[in-house]
C-alpha cells in the first residue's frame, strides 16, 4: 500500500476520532477528506480484499440486505467491512474502509450503494458480487422518474464481474439481466406464493396504481398470477409473452407474526434451509433471500447463512428495538409508499401495538417533496384505538393526511420536537406495549442521535 493511501487512512482516522469526540456520527465527512487526500483510496484498498467485494443497490432493503449478508459472512468466520450507517455514496464507503482498518486486510467488503452513485462507486470497488433489491418510486425531486433510476443502475452494473443477484419478482430488476456483461452469472431470487396482502393487494392490479405496470420490453400491460406486494410477483406480459424468469433461490414464508418470520430458502443444488428471522414483513423476507443468494454466490455454506439470518435483529433504524419506560420502542425507517405500507401492515397486525409515532422531515435526504404521503395507505391505522403522535418538519401535513384518511382526531397529537414526540407516544402507550416510531431518514438520524446520547441505542456507525 502506497504512502498516499496510508496518509489518507491516517487523516480519515483522525477525522473520525475528532468528530466522535464531538458526539457526531462521522459517517460521511471523513470520507471526503480521505478521497481528497487519495482519490484512488477505495480502489486501492478494495483491491486488497481477500474474498468478495459486494455492492447492494435498489430502492428498498439495501441496508437490511447488506447487514444480513455481513452476518452470513461473519458466520463463516470472515472479517467483513460494511458501511453500516447507511451512508451509501463514495464518501460513506471510504469512511467505512478506514473505520474498520480495511487497509490492513479484510475478507469481504459489503457496500450498500445509492442507485445514482452506483456507477461511480462500482468503478472504484470493482465488485465481483452485486444484489439489486427492487425499484419503487422514491424521492422524485431527487432521482427523477423511475426510468432514470433503472438506467443509472444498469450503467453501474456494467462494472460488475462475477455474479449479479437480481430480484426476479420485480420486472424492472429482472430485465437488467439482459444488459449485464457477458461473463457475469445471473442468480434470480424471489418469494414463493403470495404473502398476506395489504389493502392494495386486494384490488385489481390495473387499478392499484402499481409503480411498474408495463412490460419494459414492449410496453404491454402485465397480468399477474400472484403478487406478494406492490408490483412484486409472478407477472407476465400478454403482448410479447415475457414473464418472470425461473428463480434459482426461492424463499417461502412458513409462519409470521409481529415479531418476525419463519422462512425456508431453497437453493439451486437442492439444498435448503429453514431459519427464524427476527424482523417481520414480506419485504424482509425479500431481503433475507437476496442476501442468502449473494452469500451462496460468495461460497458461504448453509449453516453460516442460517446463523447469519438467526443472529439478525434489525439493522440501524430498520425495526430496531429498544426499551424505554417499560415499553418496547421499535424504530422503523419509512421513506416511500411501498415501504411505508409494509411497515403499517406490520404495525396494524401487531396486537401489542400501544402507540404510533410518525415523524416526517423534508430534508434533502428525505426528499423535499412530501406529496408521497398521499400514496401511503395510512387508512390502515384507522381501525383500533391506539394514539398517534405526529412530528418532524412536516408534522402538520402528516396530521392533515391522517385527518383525511379518517383517523379520529381524538387519537391524534402534533408534537414538533421528535424526542418530545417519542416521550408523548410512550406516555400514551400502556406499559408493556410496543411503540412504533415510523420515521423518514433525517427524522431517524435526529431521533437516534438523541437516544444514543441517553445510552438507549448503540452508536450508529457500529450498525
Amino acid at each position: 500500500m502506497g504512502i498516499r493511501a496510508r496518509l489518507a487512512h491516517i487523516f480519515g482516522k483522525l477525522g473520525i476520532r475528532v468528530l466522535r469526540l464531538l458526539g457526531r456520527a462521522a459517517t460521511t465527512a471523513p470520507g471526503r477528506v480521505i478521497l481528497a487526500v487519495d482519490p484512488g483510496f477505495i480502489s486501492r484498498v478494495s483491491g486488497q480484499v481477500r474474498h468478495s467485494r459486494a455492492v447492494i443497490t435498489g430502492t428498498n432493503g439495501k441496508t437490511t440486505t447488506a447487514a444480513l449478508l455481513e452476518g452470513m459472512m461473519a458466520g463463516a468466520g470472515w472479517k467483513v467491512v460494511r458501511n453500516a450507517s447507511g451512508s451509501n455514496m463514495a464518501a460513506g464507503i471510504a469512511t467505512a474502509l478506514v473505520d474498520h482498518d480495511a487497509i490492513s486486510g479484510c475478507d469481504a467488503l459489503v457496500a450498500e450503494v445509492d442507485e445514482a452513485a452506483l456507477a461511480g462507486v462500482a468503478a472504484m470497488v470493482q465488485p465481483d458480487l452485486a444484489v439489486v433489491t427492487n425499484f419503487f418510486r422514491d424521492q422524485l425531486d431527487r432521482y427523477g422518474e423511475l426510468d432514470r433510476t433503472v438506467d443509472l443502475v444498469r450503467r453501474g452494473l456494467e462494472r460488475v464481474r462475477g455474479t449479479a443477484c437480481l430480484n426476479a419478482d420485480d420486472p424492472r430488476v429482472a430485465d437488467l439481466a439482459d444488459s449485464l456483461p457477458g461473463e457475469v452469472d445471473t442468480v434470480f431470487f424471489g418469494l414463493a406464493g403470495e404473502a398476506s396482502g395489504g389493502e392494495r393487494d386486494a384490488v385489481d392490479p390495473a387499478a392499484a396504481g402499481l409503480d411498474t405496470q408495463f412490460c419494459p420490453r414492449c410496453g404491454g400491460r402485465f397480468t399477474y398470477e400472484g403478487r406478494v406486494f406492490g408490483h412484486l410477483g409472478d407477472y407476465r406480459c400478454p403482448d410479447c409473452g415475457w414473464r418472470r424468469p425461473a428463480r434459482h433461490v426461492v424463499g417461502r414464508i412458513l409462519d409470521a407474526d409481529g415479531a418476525g418470520l419463519l422462512m425456508a430458502i431453497d437453493f439451486p443444488d437442492g439444498d435448503s434451509l429453514v431459519a427464524k428471522l427476527g424482523v417481520p414483513g414480506a419485504y424482509n423476507a425479500y431481503n433475507a433471500v437476496g442476501a442468502a443468494a449473494a452469500a451462496r454466490a460468495a461460497g458461504i455454506d448453509g449453516p453460516a447463512i442460517r446463523a447469519g439470518l438467526e443472529a439478525f435483529t434489525g439493522a440501524f433504524g430498520r425495526m430496531e428495538r429498544l426499551s424505554l419506560e417499560d415499553r418496547e420502542v421499535v424504530l422503523a425507517l419509512s421513506k416511500n409508499p411501498v415501504g411505508f405500507d409494509q411497515i403499517l401492515r406490520a404495525v396494524a397486525d401487531d396486537a401489542g401495538t400501544g402507540a404510533v409515532l410518525v415523524g416526517i422531515n423534508d430534508g434533502h435526504a428525505d426528499g423535499r417533496d412530501i406529496s408521497w404521503l398521499w400514496d401511503v395507505d395510512f387508512e390502515m391505522l384507522d381501525a383500533g384505538e391506539v394514539p398517534v403522535v405526529v412530528s418532524g418538519t412536516r408534522a402538520e401535513d402528516m396530521a392533515v393526511r391522517l385527518k383525511y384518511g379518517g383517523l379520529d382526531l381524538e387519537r391524534l397529537q402534533i408534537v414538533g420536537d421528535l424526542e418530545g414526540a417519542l416521550e408523548r407516544a410512550v406516555e400514551r402507550s400502556p406499559r408493556g406495549a410496543r411503540v412504533y416510531a415510523l420515521l423518514t431518514y433525517t427524522a431517524m438520524l435526529g431521533l437516534r442521535e438523541r437516544l444514543e446520547r441517553r445510552g438507549l441505542v448503540g452508536e450508529m456507525w457500529r450498525g
Partner: protein, 247 residues
C-alpha cells in the same frame, strides 16, 4: 344531493400523490353531508365525461402519459363539450400540460395536446423544483396557494385563458412572467402538487362550490373546521419563504 367525481387515469396519472386531491374533495363533501361518488376513468373505459360534476387529472411519467394521450385523443370532443357545459375540471402538472395546444420537445418536435386551454408548453433545459406559493384572485382570504412544483416544461398562456395565480415564491408556469396555472370557465390547471387540495381547503371548496352551483345548490352550508389544514398551509408558506402575514 350527490356529486359525481371522475378521477381520470388514477392508475397512470398518479405521480405526485395526486389521489390526495380526490380524497380531499370526497371528504369535504362527506363532512357536509353531501354524497360523493368517485369513479375512476381508465384508458379504454366507456365514460361520458359530461355526466360528471367534477373531473380530476394528475401527472404521470413519460411512459404512462404516452398511453394516456392515445386515450384522450379519442375523448377530445367529449371533454370539450363537458368543459363548455361548465363541468369543473382540475388538472395538475402533466394533466395540465395535456390540456394545451402542444408540448414542444427539446429537438423541436411538437406533441399535440387537447387544445382545450389556450396555452402551450416548451421543454426547458432544467427542471423547476421546490416549495412554491402564489396568490390567486379567485380565492377568498388569505388568497394564497401552497404546494410543491417539479416540472421541466415551461407553459405559456394565450389570450384565451387567464393565470390562476401570481407567483410569490417559486417558478410558476415558466419562471418568467410570474403567472401560475390557468383558468378557463370551470377548468383549472396548475403545476402545484403536494397534494394541493388538502392544505388549500379554500381552493377545494371553490371547486366544490362551482360544481354544486352548476347543479343549482345555493350554499355549501356551515364552514368546516379547517384549523389543521391552515396550520399545514402556514407551514408550507414558511417553507416557500413567504411570511403568512405579508402574503
Amino acid at each position: 344531493m350527490r356529486l359525481r367525481i371522475g378521477h381520470m387515469y388514477p392508475d397512470l396519472m398518479n405521480l405526485y400523490g395526486d389521489r390526495g386531491n380526490v380524497i380531499a374533495l370526497a371528504r369535504r363533501l362527506q363532512w357536509r353531508g353531501i354524497e360523493a361518488e368517485i369513479v375512476g376513468i381508465a384508458a379504454g373505459d366507456a365514460a361520458a365525461l359530461g355526466d360528471f360534476d367534477l373531473l380530476f387529472m394528475g401527472g404521470g411519467q413519460d411512459r404512462e402519459q404516452a398511453i394516456v394521450w392515445r386515450d384522450l385523443e379519442a375523448r377530445r370532443e367529449d371533454l370539450r363539450r363537458a368543459m363548455e357545459a361548465d363541468v369543473v375540471l382540475l388538472a395538475v402538472c402533466g394533466g395540465y400540460q395535456l390540456l394545451g395546444h402542444y408540448y414542444r420537445m427539446p429537438d423541436g418536435r411538437e406533441i399535440p395536446g387537447l387544445g382545450i386551454l389556450d396555452l402551450h408548453t416548451e421543454a426547458g433545459p432544467t427542471r423547476m423544483i421546490g416549495n412554491a406559493a402564489c396568490r390567486s384572485e379567485y380565492l377568498p382570504e388569505p388568497g394564497t396557494l401552497v404546494g410543491f412544483e417539479n416540472h421541466g416544461g415551461r407553459t405559456y398562456l394565450g389570450p384565451g385563458c387567464a393565470p390562476l395565480a401570481t407567483v410569490l415564491s417559486g417558478h410558476g408556469n415558466n419562471g418568467e412572467d410570474g403567472g401560475e396555472g390557468a383558468v378557463y370557465r370551470n377548468v383549472f390547471g396548475t403545476y402545484l402538487h403536494g397534494s394541493l387540495l388538502p392544505k388549500n381547503p379554500h381552493f377545494a371548496d371553490l371547486l366544490l362550490g362551482r360544481a354544486l352551483a352548476r347543479r343549482g345548490a345555493g350554499t355549501m352550508g356551515d364552514p368546516l373546521d379547517d384549523s389543521l389544514e391552515w396550520r399545514a398551509h402556514r407551514v408550507a408558506l414558511g417553507l416557500a419563504g413567504v411570511d403568512g402575514r405579508e402574503a
